[in-house]
C-alpha cells in the first residue's frame, strides 16, 4: 500500500508538471495583461515600464524558466493585480470555497441518497416518479439560472435568507468558518443548495440504479430467506454494496465542486477561489490562473487517491497494490 501511494504521488508530480507547461503557455499566448493594469492616463513610457516590471518583455521560454525556478521553491509568482504571491491569495480564498463545497456535498448525500433509496425500493410509486422527474431538472437546468431563481424566491420574495455574501464567521476547534454562526448558515444555504442540485440529482440516480439492481440479487434473497428484517437488509447489506459507485462518483464530483464552483460563487458574491479565478481570467492575472489550475490538478490527484483508499475499505476484494512492480 505504501509503495502504491508513493507511486501515485510521483505520478501526480508528473501530471502537475505537464499541466504547468500546458497552462503556462496557453495562458501566455492569450491577450495582453498590461493594458488591463495601467491607467488609461499612462503614457508610452509608463506602459513600457509596466511591461518590463512584470517581466513580459522577456522571451516566453525565459519566463517559463523563471516560473519553474520559483515553483520549485514554492513560489508560483506574484499576482499582477494584487502584487501578492498567487499561492497566498488562493489559500486565503480557499476556506470559503471549502465550506461551500463541503456543505454542497453534505446536502447531496443527506438528500440524494435517501431519496434515491426510496425511488429504488418503490420504483412504481407516484412519489418515486416525482423524485426522478425532479432529478432530471436538477441535471438540465443551468446553474446560473437556478441560482438567480433561488435568490428571487428565497431572498427577494420570501426574504427568508440574504441574497449574497458570506456572513459572520464563527470559530470552532480553531477553524474559522461561516458554518458556525446562524448568520453564516443563513448566507451559505442558497449557494450550497445551488451548487448541490446537480450532485443531489446524481446521487439520486446512482443510488436508485444500485438499489434496483441489488434488490434482485441472490444475497438479498438469501438474507430474506434467512429471516433478516427488511431494515437490516437494506441499510446494512444493500447499502454497503451500492455505496461503492456512489462514493467513487461523489469523490470525483467533490473535486469539481471545489474547482469549478465559479458560477455559483459569482452569482452569490461568495468570496471563494472560484470568484478569484474568474476575476483573474477576466483581468488576465496570469500567475493566479496558472497557480489555481496547478492546485486544482493536485486536488484531483489527491482526491482520486483517497477514493481508491476508501474503495479498498468498502470493498475488501479490492487490494491496493502496485500491479506494475
Amino acid at each position: 500500500m505504501t509503495v502504491f501511494i508513493i507511486r501515485r504521488l510521483l505520478q501526480a508530480l508528473l501530471v502537475v508538471f505537464m499541466m504547468s507547461v500546458i497552462v503556462f503557455f496557453g495562458v501566455n499566448i492569450v491577450g495582453d495583461p498590461v493594458y488591463m493594469l495601467v491607467s488609461p492616463d499612462a503614457d508610452q513610457a509608463d506602459i513600457e515600464a509596466a511591461i518590463s516590471r512584470l517581466g513580459l518583455d522577456r522571451p516566453i521560454w525565459e519566463q517559463y524558466g523563471l516560473f519553474l525556478k520559483g515553483a520549485a521553491q514554492g513560489d508560483l509568482g506574484n499576482s499582477f493585480i494584487f502584487g501578492e504571491p498567487a499561492l497566498k491569495l488562493i489559500l486565503h480564498h480557499m476556506p470559503a470555497t471549502m465550506e461551500l463545497a463541503f456543505s454542497a456535498l453534505f446536502l447531496a448525500i443527506v438528500i440524494g441518497i435517501p431519496l434515491g433509496l426510496y425511488a429504488g425500493l418503490y420504483p412504481d410509486g407516484r412519489l418515486s416518479k416525482g423524485i426522478m422527474a425532479a432529478s432530471i431538472f436538477g441535471f438540465s437546468l443551468p446553474t446560473f439560472w437556478v441560482g438567480l431563481m433561488l435568490i428571487m424566491l428565497f431572498a427577494v420574495e420570501l426574504q427568508w435568507v440574504p441574497a449574497t455574501g458570506r456572513g459572520d464567521l464563527g470559530s470552532f476547534l480553531g477553524i474559522q468558518s461561516s458554518l458556525f454562526t446562524l448568520d453564516g448558515l443563513s448566507h451559505i444555504f442558497l449557494p450550497a443548495l445551488n451548487l448541490a442540485l446537480l450532485k443531489i440529482s446524481l446521487a439520486i440516480r446512482l443510488t436508485r440504479a444500485g438499489v434496483r439492481e441489488a434488490m434482485g440479487l441472490d444475497y438479498v434473497k438469501y438474507a430474506r430467506a434467512k429471516g433478516l428484517s427488511t431494515r437490516r437488509i437494506i441499510f446494512v447489506h444493500v447499502m454497503k454494496n451500492i455505496l461503492i459507485p456512489v462514493v467513487t462518483v461523489m469523490g470525483l464530483e467533490f473535486g469539481s465542486l471545489i474547482g469549478f464552483s465559479v458560477v455559483t460563487e459569482t452569482i452569490f458574491a461568495w468570496p471563494g477561489m472560484g470568484k478569484l479565478l474568474i476575476d483573474a481570467i477576466l483581468q488576465l492575472d496570469r500567475p493566479v490562473v496558472v497557480a489555481y489550475l496547478m492546485i486544482i490538478v493536485l486536488f484531483f490527484v489527491l482526491i482520486n487517491l483517497i477514493v481508491d483508499i476508501l474503495y479498498s475499505i468498502l470493498d475488501p476484494r479490492v487490494r491496493l497494490q502496485d500491479q506494475g512492480a
Binding site: G31, A42, D46
Partner: protein
C-alpha cells in the same frame, strides 16, 4: 430631468445634514467593482481611487462634477512660470491624532510613484515635478516648463501620513497604516467580501451622516440588483441598463443618474494605405478609404446617435458631438451632435469615389463599456445601410486592448475601425486631446491611445500650446479650438456619453458623479 434629480438630491442632502448631523446609522453599499487594495498609492484604478477618497484626503478635492475645490490645501497658485505654491490647511489631524503638515505632503509625493509591485502607479501625474517644503504649511511644486494642469494632477494623489510613507501595501490592507485625514476611518477589510469604514468624528470638513459604512463587492449585475431588492444592501452602483425600467416601476427603489466623463467613440485607421480590415467590395485590396476625411465624415453622418441612445442604451446615455459633455473645462460651445443623414452620407461617399461603398470590420470589446458589443452591432448595421458593408467582431477586453494598441506583426494597432471609450480622469478636455487626438509621439508621451494614428500638425500645436498656457480663460479657448479642429477633421467619431445609474432603497439618493465613483459621502437621505 436628470439635472433636476441631482439638484433636488443635493438640496435634500443639505437639509438632511442640517437636521441631524451626527447619528448612529449604518449604510451598506453593493459595489460593481472591487478595489484591489487599500493602499492608496498601489493601483491607479477607479474603484481604488473611489475607496481611498473616504479615508485619505487630497490636497485638492474634486467635486461631483470633477471641479477642483480646496482639500488639504486651502490655496494653490503659480507664483512664477515654473513654481506653484500650495498653502496647506492648518489644524488638520490624521486618524491617529498626529498633525498634518508639509512633511506629510513631501513624503506622500515621494511614495506615490514608487510603491513596490504596483501594477500601475501615480508617477504619470508626478513626472517632472519637484516638491519643496517652504515651511510647515507651505509647499512648492517646481516644474521644468510652465505647467497649467498642476491642480488637476495633484488632485489625484491621496495624502498619507509620514508614518504611512514607510509602510508596506500589506500594512495598508491590514489597516495598521491606513491612516488618513478623510471623513471615514478604516475598520476592517476582507478582500472579496467587505470593507467597513467608520465615521471620523473629528473630520475638518463636513462630517458624514453615516456612522458606519460597509462596502460589499457584488460583481454580478443581476445579483447586485437582487441584493438591493432583498434588502441586503441599501444602495448599489452600476445598475444594468436592462434592469433600469423595472426598477423605475418599483416604489421601494430610488434611482439616481448622472452623465459621466466617459465618451464612447470610433477610431479609424488613418495611417496605413493598406488597412488590414478594409476591403473593396468582394474582398479585394483597396487603398484605405478611411484616410479620406469625406469618408470619415460620411461614416459619422451615417450613425444615428439618437437610435443608439434610445434603443441600445435604453435612454441611459447622451448623444455626443465632442470629447466631453457640456459643463466640463475645455469643451466647445460651437459643436453640435452630428445629425443623422444617410442620404448625405451616401452622397459624400460617392463624391469620395465610393458610390458602392466598401467592406469594413468593426472591432470592439464585449465586457468593458455599457452594452459595448450591442453598440458595435448597431453601428455596423447603420453603416451597411449606406453601403459600407460592415462585419462585427467583439472580444473580451483582456484580448481586445492589447490587439487594438499594438497587435499587428510590427507592433502597430491591429484593427482598422474600432469602438473604444475614454474617461477624462482629470475632468477637463486636455486629457482626451493629449491621448487620443495628438499625433502619436512616444518620446513626448503624446497620443498614447491614438489607435487610429490621426495626425494633424495644427491640432497638435493647439494642444501643446494649451498645455503650456497657465491662464485659465486662454487655455479654455485653446482646448475648445483643438476640439473643434479634431471634430472637423473627424479624428474620431464620438457616439455618446455614458450615463451611470445608482439604485438605492426608498428614502436614499445618490449625488451622481461624473468620475463614476461611488462615495458614501454622496449618499443622502430625503
Amino acid at each position: 430631468m436628470r439635472k433636476l434629480t441631482t439638484a433636488t438630491a443635493v438640496a435634500f442632502g443639505i437639509l438632511a445634514m442640517g437636521a441631524g448631523a451626527v447619528s448612529a446609522e449604518k449604510l451598506t453599499i453593493g459595489l460593481a467593482s472591487e478595489p484591489t487594495s487599500l493602499d492608496p498609492h498601489f493601483h491607479n484604478l477607479g474603484p481604488n481611487n473611489a475607496m481611498s477618497v473616504h479615508i485619505f484626503d487630497r490636497l485638492i478635492a474634486q467635486d461631483e462634477k470633477q471641479r477642483l475645490s480646496p482639500g488639504l490645501a486651502v490655496s494653490w497658485e503659480p507664483i512664477d512660470d515654473l513654481t506653484w505654491e500650495f498653502k496647506l490647511r492648518e489644524g488638520v489631524k490624521f486618524h491617529d491624532g498626529s498633525d498634518f503638515n508639509a512633511d506629510d505632503v513631501v513624503c506622500t509625493m515621494a511614495r506615490a510613484p514608487d510603491v513596490p509591485n504596483s501594477p500601475s502607479g501615480y508617477g504619470t501625474y508626478l513626472k517632472g515635478k519637484e516638491v519643496i517644503k517652504i515651511d510647515d504649511y507651505t509647499v512648492h511644486f517646481k516644474t521644468a516648463a510652465p505647467y497649467p494642469l498642476m491642480g488637476n494632477d495633484i488632485s489625484t494623489i491621496p495624502v498619507i501620513s509620514e508614518q504611512g510613507c514607510t509602510s508596506t501595501t500589506e500594512e495598508f490592507n491590514a489597516g495598521t497604516a491606513a491612516i488618513g485625514t478623510g471623513p471615514f476611518k478604516f475598520q476592517s477589510y476582507t478582500p472579496g467580501e467587505s470593507i467597513v469604514l467608520t465615521r471620523n468624528d473629528d473630520y475638518w470638513g463636513e462630517k458624514a451622516i453615516w456612522s458606519e459604512v460597509e462596502f460589499r463587492p457584488i460583481t454580478s449585475g443581476p445579483s447586485r440588483v437582487a441584493s438591493l431588492l432583498a434588502g441586503d444592501v441599501d444602495m448599489i452602483s452600476g445598475v444594468p441598463t436592462t434592469d433600469i425600467t423595472t426598477l423605475k416601476g418599483n416604489d421601494a427603489i430610488q434611482l439616481s443618474q448622472g452623465v459621466s466623463n466617459r465618451v464612447i467613440y470610433l477610431h479609424m485607421d488613418q495611417f496605413r494605405e493598406n488597412s488590414p480590415f478594409v476591403k473593396a467590395n468582394g474582398g479585394g485590396d483597396i487603398k484605405n478609404p478611411l484616410m479620406d476625411v469625406r469618408v470619415r465624415k460620411a461614416i459619422s453622418m451615417a450613425i444615428s446617435r439618437d437610435a443608439i441612445v434610445d434603443r441600445v442604451m435604453e435612454g441611459v446615455a447622451l448623444p455626443a458631438g465632442q470629447l466631453l459633455p457640456e459643463g466640463f473645462f475645455g469643451v466647445s460651445d460651437k459643436l453640435d451632435v452630428v445629425a443623422y443623414d444617410p442620404d448625405g452620407a451616401k452622397a459624400l461617399l460617392a463624391e469620395a469615389g465610393y458610390p458602392d461603398g466598401f467592406e469594413l470590420t468593426i472591432h470592439g470589446p464585449n465586457d468593458r463599456y455599457i452594452n459595448d458589443a450591442k453598440i458595435a452591432e448597431a453601428v455596423a448595421q447603420m453603416l451597411t445601410r449606406v453601403g459600407i458593408k460592415t462585419a462585427v467582431e467583439t472580444m473580451p477586453r483582456s484580448v481586445y486592448f492589447g490587439r487594438a494598441s499594438k497587435g499587428s506583426p510590427d507592433g502597430l494597432p491591429e484593427f482598422s475601425f474600432i469602438l473604444v471609450g475614454w474617461g477624462a480622469g482629470s475632468g477637463e478636455a486636455s486629457s482626451p486631446l493629449k491621448s487620443l487626438i495628438h499625433t502619436y509621439d512616444k518620446d513626448a508621451g503624446f497620443g498614447s491611445s491614438n489607435r487610429g494614428r490621426h495626425a494633424d500638425a495644427e491640432t497638435d500645436a493647439l494642444i501643446e500650446e494649451a498645455l503650456r498656457t497657465v491662464d485659465d480663460a486662454k487655455r479654455q479657448d485653446l482646448l475648445a479650438q483643438a476640439t473643434e479642429r479634431a471634430i472637423e477633421n473627424v479624428a474620431i467619431i464620438p457616439t455618446h456619453f455614458q450615463v451611470n445609474t445608482w439604485a438605492a432603497k426608498k428614502g436614499l439618493s445618490y449625488v451622481a458623479r461624473t468620475d463614476e465613483y461611488t462615495l458614501a459621502t454622496g449618499v443622502v437621505k430625503e
